[in-house]
Symmetry: C2
Subunit: 319 residues, 2 copies
């Protein structure tokens, strides 16, 4: 390690490794397009990082997703390479990746791939970087995935809970206190590419729609922090993005109305879809909501997966 | 009182009267166009209401603003008439109006005229109406003033503190908890008509600007409720309305930059202007901010009034 003299951190033996669970996340949270997101307790990617004497980032995939092993083209690799640039005492990292979150599902698969490894590496290096630094590194991974550095999945994956990206440049992340919430997710087995979902958005919006939207965002943030479930429910309304994007998701309107009838506070498209999420006040309602989702997709005859979980309040966890 | 039998409320002698202080208010709060507002402890209008045996609303102006005394054309009158329609046991009201808040100043003069009388009348009638009802009545007054039923001044005048209008139709008002804040206002002695200030706004906004704006709104609401002064300061940024409207206010940019140098957390146009407000964490800073405002307008040679006050947490007060 020729450049260890440039940095004050202690030498870390290459034999040490750490395994983390990196969570799925829901970006946008209906009205909070590009600014709000939250982490889920299930599903998680399992990622093991060790310090390596080989320069660069070595990637070993242990799953069947056939993701690239060239670090620069790999989401985890790009995040770790960005981190490595600020670690003159470290030569390289080795990553074992065992993904459980299906790429393209709309619940932050790429963010889990980007966030987990940098949190793990940071632990190995004595937590020398702040959470904000880790988000900055992980955003390089998101850029590989979608061409855009966005943080609305990465921030909740790293911070846990509900996070606000007040500003992306300069980065300003705010942890939003929230009451316990149960989350039901349905992932219809169709593909919606993030790039396509972004492409169909209009570049201009009506001022009167923007005003409705920011009224709902203000209501949602107030409802979360003040633990007012009814206000959260009333504020989960999106007059700008959902009307456009939901046409890419079969059965969207039926899912939404039947979930609300089953008692959900509200919900909508997870990230850019195709997954749909619903928030409920109790575990019992979250299960009733799952049944409602199943009924709709069984009727349509579309394959799907569901998850019934809660908000992960800690972010990436050491296993 | 021929129709008292239609209503369960007790008979109220016409000799009773009540005097209230109805506060100035700041609408929009920089990034929260049309949805946020807060009440001030100074200045206030003084309004005295009594029940009358004469049908309709009699208005006696005790100030020099030469406002109409025809109830339907008068802001207070229109609000009381709307209330009267839902009081079958009451024939009429009599109002003595002594306004201290100059019409057209941008600190909610019409809202004070509309809110105070309905709060006073409600007290006289045993508080039979909810605050939300009172906002609904007072909005008829705002319609007389500006042609539009808006509630971003009326809601804080009636509720006190900082209020969110999540939705106007149907009306959904949320009280936002806020830390103690000191407010400095400068009112340059020029006229900006609300209708003109509304006219120059563009009907379309860029989605990317709308996203910045709702990031700031979410940050402001979170900062207020979490009592995080620095987050409040960072979030007081308006990329949509202020760049357009501020051109109507001489010296706006100089005022803003010199107030921030003097220690203000931030601020901007109050309502549709021409008044400018700044928020500070301490009374001392609020006074330094006043001096900064005075310097700019003294240099320009423009007449002005200033107010240094705090947020009124109770709304309209019985005197």
């Amino acid at each position: 390690m020729t450049n260890s003299a440039n940095h004050s951190a202690a030498y870390i033996p290459s034999s040490q490794s750490i395994t983390v669970l990196s969570p799925a996340t829901v970006a946008n949270m209906v009205c909070g397009f590009d600014i709000l997101g939250f982490a889920l307790n299930e599903p998680n990617d399992e990622l093991t990082v060790s310090i390596s004497d080989q320069p660069g980032v070595e990637i070993i995939n242990q799953d069947d997703f056939d993701l690239p092993t060239d670090a620069e083209k790999n989401v985890s690799g790009a995040a770790l390479l960005a981190m490595l640039e600020e670690c003159p005492d470290i030569k390289g990292f080795r990553l074992l990746s065992n993904k459980q979150i299906k790429p393209g599902s709309g619940i932050g698969s790429s963010a889990a791939s980007a966030a987990g490894p940098v949190v793990a590496a940071n632990h190995l290096m004595g937590n020398r970087f702040s959470k904000e630094d880790l988000v900055r590194f992980a955003m390089f991974g998101e850029k590989v995935a979608s061409g855009v550095k966005h943080a609305d999945n990465i921030a909740p994956a790293i911070y846990g809970g509900v996070t606000l990206i007040r500003s992306i440049f300069p980065l300003d992340i705010v942890a939003i206190d929230a009451p316990p919430l149960h989350v039901t997710i349905v992932h219809p087995q169709i593909e919606v590419r993030t790039a396509d979902a972004r492409q169909i958005l209009k570049q201009n919006v009506l001022l009167r729609d923007a005003i409705k939207q920011w009224g709902n965002i203000a209501g949602l943030v107030a409802g979360l922090i003040q633990h007012d479930y009814q206000l959260i429910g009333r504020s989960l309304e999106d007059v700008i993005i959902e009307p456009v994007r939901s046409i890419l998701i079969p059965g969207f309107n039926d899912i939404k109305s039947s979930c609300k009838e089953a008692g959900a506070l509200g919900g909508g498209i997870s990230g850019s879809g195709p997954s749909i999420f619903m928030l409920s006040e109790t575990a019992e309602t979250a299960l009733a909501v799952e049944s409602a989702m199943q009924s709709v997709y069984n009727k349509i005859g579309l394959d799907y997966h569901t998850h019934v979980t809660t908000i992960n309040t800690t972010g990436v966890k050491i296993k």
